[in-house]
């Protein structure tokens, strides 16, 4: 698996003074993967991305991009890399076109003008090419930051909270753009928004206090319904309801039903009423990802506090 992986990170450790920000992190990413890096504030997400992009060196561990070791052959590795830090690295006194052309030249793009035009079109910047970056709104500045990261069509795109500070329409646009990019490139994005990961990512990694506590593919688009009944019933009878794929008992006596779409709630309600089971509660449950995330992070904290 390691050979065809675009990004391989092994045993990454980084300390800030006595505080360990990252401990023994392993990550691997193939082309076409979109990895969502989740974690609470201070979990080490930004540190991880800084190390993966060569902005910060790890105390221990190695990073290889496309087989090029980031510490030994940094230039070859960085040619494959596009990075949007949490604060977009913009020069306020530059025009958008100038700035993107500079970034394209830095990444050794041959046809600079065409590349800049393409990046601007993808990020919705076609009309602001001659504006000074200083005078753009925060949302547009974020888009310029994104355009900078994709101007050279990198094989690996690293985005640190790409939708922060955008309005809902821009958030949707950026998510669509990232999802489109993820089809041809590998993408890592950090966020604390679970919905973002669910919408665009194929894999998810959860960081907690500098350690990787979960890594795996994202479970489909399925959604879970939470059902509470007055009368006792059997798992098999619920499973027989049309549209229900899987049934699990929840911890407090309720049931969790896995369904293809939330619209299946209609069938569930009809069936339960027909059998007169006493419907007390029926709603879309917290997603599986949310449950995993809370269990892994808040759960850890509760254990640590106990």
């Amino acid at each position: 698996m390691t050979e065809d992986c675009l990004l391989v990170a092994r045993g990454l450790t980084r300390r800030y003074g006595p505080r360990a920000a990252l401990v023994g992190l392993d990550l691997a990413l193939a082309r076409g993967d979109c990895l969502g890096l989740l974690g609470l504030n201070g979990a080490g997400k930004s540190t991880t991305l800084k190390i993966l992009t060569g902005v910060l060196a790890p105390h221990a561990g190695t990073v290889a991009i496309g087989g090029h070791d980031l510490a030994r052959t940094p230039l070859a590795a960085k040619r494959l890399l596009g990075y949007l830090p949490d604060v977009p690295p913009l020069f306020p006194d530059a025009r958008v076109d100038e700035y993107l052309a500079l970034c394209a030249r830095l990444r050794e793009v041959r046809e600079v003008e065409a590349a800049v035009g393409r990046a601007k079109a993808r990020c919705g910047l076609a009309d602001v090419g001659q504006r000074l970056i200083r005078n753009l709104s925060k949302g547009y500045q974020q888009r310029v930051g994104l355009a900078q990261a994709i101007v050279h069509e990198p094989a690996l795109l690293v985005l640190d909270e790409p939708t922060v500070g955008l309005d809902p329409v821009q958030i949707r646009d950026v998510r669509l753009l990232v999802a489109a990019l993820a089809r041809e490139h590998a993408v890592i994005l950090s966020t604390h928004l679970l919905a973002e990961v669910q919408q665009i990512c194929t894999r998810v990694a959860v960081l907690h206090e500098g350690r990787l506590v979960h890594e795996g593919p994202l479970a489909g688009d399925a959604c879970w319904l939470r059902l509470r009944l007055r009368a006792a019933t059997q798992l098999g009878r619920l499973q027989a309801i049309p549209g229900v794929q899987q049934v699990q008992p929840a911890d407090d006596g309720a049931w969790l039903l896995r369904v293809a779409t939330p619209a299946a709630a209609e069938h569930v309600a009809a069936a339960v009423t027909k059998e007169n089971l006493g419907l007390l509660e029926l709603r879309v449950a917290d997603s599986a990802l949310e449950q995993t995330f809370l269990a892994l992070t808040v759960g850890h904290r509760a254990q640590a506090g106990a």
Partner: protein, 249 residues
């Protein structure tokens, strides 16, 4: 690729009003001094004519002018370089360079050349002022050329030192003060032992000593080596310091 860095540095220097204000102020002071020296020369001329080997206009007008430019550069250069790395560190834009396929020495070299492009303006105007005298009097072109070479070398050394201090901090003001203090020390570090006449380590360290030789018209390889060593050393330290930003300690 270094041209992209140079262009960015020149753009950022010339798009800020600061550089223009500094250049205008410098030009005003130089013009004033140039005219004042000319005036003195004019008054002294009848008495000078009686001397056996009188000092010419190059010694009496151009040499003091070059020393004034050099003194002013000690203030000006750190102020021009303070933004170039400290400002970028504060704004978070260093991440752009660090994550791009560009070596740190290319980055530092590009910024250094960018600053020199700006300093070329006061260098050229300093050079042009004496040339206006060539219509009315005989200039000592050899001495003049040596002085201008010394000025260029001084600018290089000052720019490199300014960049190094800019790399040390994320506070541009602190970078300017540090660079200024360092240049000032190098300029006057041999003042205390000067009257003894015994050359000391500080005589060798003193930037002014080495610069004065050029102004007097001597091009000594030791002076040349001094300025080149200071320049290359400061640039190497800058690269080392930037590398330390990401290095794990």
């Amino acid at each position: 690729m270094i041209d992209a860095v140079v262009r960015r540095e020149v753009t950022s220097l010339f798009r800020a009003p600061f550089a223009w204000a500094v250049l205008a102020g410098l030009q005003f002071v130089l013009a004033y001094q140039f005219l004042a020296q000319l005036d003195i020369f004019d008054e002294l001329q009848p008495r000078l004519a009686r001397l056996a080997a009188p000092p010419g206009v190059t010694q009496l007008v151009v040499q003091p002018l070059l020393v004034t430019v050099a003194m002013l550069l000690l203030f000006i250069v750190p102020a021009l370089t303070m933004q170039s790395l400290a400002g970028e560190r504060r704004a978070g834009t260093l991440a752009l360079w660090y994550s791009s396929p560009i070596a740190l020495r290319t980055l530092v070299g590009g910024k250094f050349i960018g600053v020199l492009c700006l300093l070329a303006v006061p260098w050229a105007s300093t050079a042009l002022m004496p040339f206006t005298l060539a219509w009315g009097t005989a200039l000592d072109f050899g001495t003049l050329a040596a002085g201008l070479l010394g000025l260029a070398l001084l600018m290089m050394a000052a720019a490199a030192i300014g960049l190094f201090f800019s790399a040390l901090t994320s506070q541009p003001t602190l970078a300017a003060l540090g660079g200024f203090a360092c240049l000032m020390f190098l300029w006057m570090c041999d003042w205390s032992g000067r009257l003894d006449g015994e050359p000391t380590l500080f005589t060798q360290l003193s930037m002014m000593n080495h610069f004065q030789n050029f102004v007097r018209g001597y091009v000594d390889s030791a002076d040349l080596a001094y300025f080149l060593l200071v320049t290359v050393g400061a640039l190497a330290l800058t690269v080392w310091r930037l590398d330390g930003d990401r290095r794990a300690l």
